[in-house]
């Protein structure tokens, strides 16, 4: 009797606090996901009225698809560089901009602006920058490496993508780090400095643990965004020159819609999801553990 009551209270508490989110989460994400999962076992092309069940056929084709593997490797390289550079830059910016520099509000707003330009427009602006402005500058001040466009050489186009991603995401992550820094209570800092914990020691032992949540969130978000990047890839390089910058989302997308192999495209998306989920949940789990220890 008492046990049942406890369960009811639990259920009541859950519904009041987490009910709406749970409902929306299930109906907007989980159910469509399961339906999508079902479609990976069919040969549906996305349009036709009829389709047949094909078992694991779609999944088998993925591992034979050298394009998929190649694109995945390229994406890993892109993710590693972008995540590392973005977080280093945004952490530093946040540290400087919460240390009482003159005009920090003004600066924060400035670093934040890249987030305001979205998708396709952003691509046009940067394409213009790389193809016209940078080369124009290269010719005027005679720097040979700048005279050819970054976007036209297969090696450099990749770095152009990384650069734009860092530029775009670091302002966003900076905000999260700033929130973290602001959550460090002033008295903690004061106490630390009285104890003689100066400089680096202070950062390491006092501040770092307190902004660990920001770290967890930012690294996770950059991981997620860079793995899933599509807009900028499309607008800036369209995968070119000659498919050397075709990141995984674009590859999957083209498979599903341009080649009208919806079942295979969806199966590739599921495989990608599993890979990224393993990586990021491990990351979150490890850093949450660190948070607790700290």
């Amino acid at each position: 009797m008492k046990k049942q009551n406890a369960l009811l209270t639990k259920l009541f508490t859950y519904t009041v606090f987490a009910g709406p989110v749970t409902l929306a989460f299930f109906t907007v994400i989980i159910i469509p996901f399961l339906y999508g999962l079902f479609l990976t076992f069919t040969n549906w092309d996305g349009v036709a009225s009829n389709f047949a069940m094909v078992g694991f056929e779609n999944y088998k084709t993925i591992f034979k698809d050298s394009g998929f593997i190649q694109s995945l490797k390229l994406t890993f390289k892109y993710v590693i560089f972008t995540v590392a550079i973005t977080n280093a830059v945004s952490f530093s910016l946040a540290a400087i901009l919460t240390s009482g520099t003159k005009g920090q509000n003004f600066f924060r707003a400035g670093f934040f602006t890249p987030n305001l330009i979205g998708g396709v427009a952003l691509g046009y602006v940067w394409q213009f920058f790389f193809n016209n402005i940078l080369t124009y500058m290269g010719k005027t001040i005679e720097i040979p490496t700048l005279q050819a466009s970054f976007l036209s050489s297969p090696g450099q186009a990749f770095w152009a993508l990384v650069m734009v991603a860092v530029w775009q995401y670091s302002g966003y992550m900076m905000i999260i780090y700033i929130t973290g820094f602001l959550n460090v209570p002033k008295d903690v800092l004061e106490a630390a400095s009285i104890d003689g914990a100066e400089g680096w020691t202070r950062v390491k032992h006092v501040i770092m643990p307190l902004i660990m949540p920001s770290f967890t969130i930012s690294v996770f978000l950059t991981l997620q965004r860079t793995f899933m990047v599509y807009d900028v890839n499309l607008a800036l390089t369209k995968g070119g020159p000659f498919k050397t910058t075709e990141l995984i989302s674009m590859y999957v997308y083209k498979k599903a819609f341009n080649e009208r192999a919806y079942g295979i495209g969806q199966a590739q998306a599921v495989v990608l999801f599993i890979i990224v989920a393993i990586i990021s949940i491990t990351q979150v789990y490890l850093s949450k553990k660190k948070e607790v220890e700290a």
Partner: protein
């Protein structure tokens, strides 16, 4: 779709039932039927009350540059047919019309008229209405309907004919003493480039976009194979089946020889892959080069830079040094945009209204005027005699009139993606001709071409 809907409903019920204990008594088949009717009712209801048979139809436009003109056409159509309202929906950049249409079908919210690339038409054959008995079929230009058929049904309306080749700026050519109409071999083209360079300008600009290289430039070699569709098809089937080798083909090699010459006199020679479609119009419009490989859609961006100069035209890309060879005098042209009419979601009245709109375009003076003079579109119908206003369209139109067009070959997205990428490598000197052939052969044997 019905099958997938049932599965979906079951799934939905199952998960709902498990997680929230909600019962699910609705019969999925019934509910989907209800959707169908309520869909068409709501579409009808949104119209002004009082006009008994008011019909509202939507038109998905994938040619963004004529959005405003199409809206004007819809308005003047509404003056002639007050009970039919046509709403023009633009198709956003970065999303292909097929992708949008795919999601629209999933959502049961499909426009009555959809503008597609011909290569995508066949995918929607289950949903598109059979237009074989329409009046305009007999007035369509020969060949313009070839790519719009599936299973012996005609499912597409040829909305626009476009041609592609070397655009020239006559002012530059005159200054260098070059007569465009006399160029019909590779070496004559090279001479022209040389003369232009001697006059202090550059010969040509090549847009490095994969769609331009893959879908238009390289397919010129397919067009040059023969003057009839069945021979071209036989050639393509040979490539797909492996019985024909691309590297042995004379037209392909001839075209690439010309391409080599173009590469040599390219204004962007030092960095060929940086030449983009957005900035190339400036180069030809403001007289920095004599030629640009592109199609007649490029007039409106060129116009911005050409000022009062309207002396522009086309010549075909030569494919050999023998001026009598087929491709040297013929411009590839094809139906590049087709309209399909939906039957799966739209009501009978809406489908009829859509057909009325198409007939209005082909046969009514206002419709013809809107299409040709306002949208600057080359019509695919022989009964329309109006002349287009822009010089590039005019040039293609005169090739059509003289019977000097070849069949533009429109293939799948994968074709231009793969071949376009291979051509980019070749353009940027990242690969040799042998490697280019190997990559193109890989596409042809991949099974994409059916």
């Amino acid at each position: 779709m019905n099958k997938s809907k049932k599965v979906l409903s079951l799934l939905l019920c199952g998960v709902m039932g498990l997680s929230f204990g909600v019962g699910c008594a609705k019969d999925p088949a019934v509910s989907s039927n209800q959707n169908q009717t309520s869909e068409s009712q709501s579409a009808a209801n949104t119209d002004k009350a009082g006009q008994g048979e008011a019909v509202k139809i939507a038109f998905l436009n994938s040619k963004g540059e004529i959005q405003a003109q199409l809206e004007n056409m819809a308005k003047s159509f509404n003056e002639d047919y007050p009970n039919i309202t046509v709403e023009i929906m633009p198709c956003p950049v970065g999303q292909s019309p097929t992708e949008i249409l795919t999601t629209m079908y999933a959502a049961n919210n499909t426009p009555a008229i959809v503008m597609l690339d011909p290569a995508d038409v066949a995918a929607f054959k289950d949903k598109a209405s059979d237009l074989s008995d329409e009046k305009w079929v007999s007035d369509a230009m020969p060949g313009s309907l070839d790519t719009l058929k599936a299973d012996d049904k005609l499912i597409g309306f040829p909305f626009a004919v476009e041609g592609w080749g070397l655009i020239y700026n006559k002012a530059v050519l005159d200054e260098a003493g070059v007569d465009a109409s006399a160029i019909n071999t590779t070496s004559e083209l090279e001479d022209a480039f040389k003369k232009i360079e001697a006059s202090g300008k550059k010969g040509v600009v090549i847009t490095s976009a994969d769609w331009s290289l893959g879908a238009h430039l390289f397919t010129t070699a397919y067009s040059g194979q023969a003057d009839n569709m069945s021979d071209i098809k036989a050639f393509l089937n040979g490539l797909a089946g492996g019985s024909t080798q691309i590297k042995d083909n004379a037209v392909v090699n001839g075209l690439l020889d010309t391409f080599d010459v173009m590469k040599k006199y390219n204004i962007a020679k030092s960095d060929p892959l940086s030449a983009t479609y957005e900035t190339n119009p400036e180069v030809i419009g403001s007289e920095k080069v004599g030629f640009w490989f592109m199609g007649n859609w490029a007039w409106s961006p060129i116009k911005d830079f050409a000022g009062d100069n309207t002396a522009f035209g086309f010549i075909p890309v030569p494919v050999s040094n023998n001026e009598a060879d087929y491709g040297n005098n013929h411009m590839p042209a094809a139906t590049t945009k087709a309209l399909i009419l939906d039957t799966a979601v739209n009501s009978k009245e809406q489908q009829e209204a859509a057909k009325t709109f198409l007939n209005w375009i082909v046969y009514e003076a206002k419709g013809q005027k809107g299409l040709v003079e306002e949208c600057s579109i080359i019509p695919a119908f022989t009964n329309i005699t109006l002349e287009i206003n822009d010089p590039l369209g005019k040039s293609i139109q005169s090739y059509i009139k003289d019977g000097k067009t070849s069949i533009g070959v429109m293939l799948s997205n994968k074709h231009w993606g793969d071949v376009g990428a291979a051509m980019q490598k070749y353009l940027g000197d990242y690969s040799t001709r042998e490697e280019l052939f190997a990559e193109i052969t890989t596409y042809w044997t991949s099974g994409d071409y059916k």
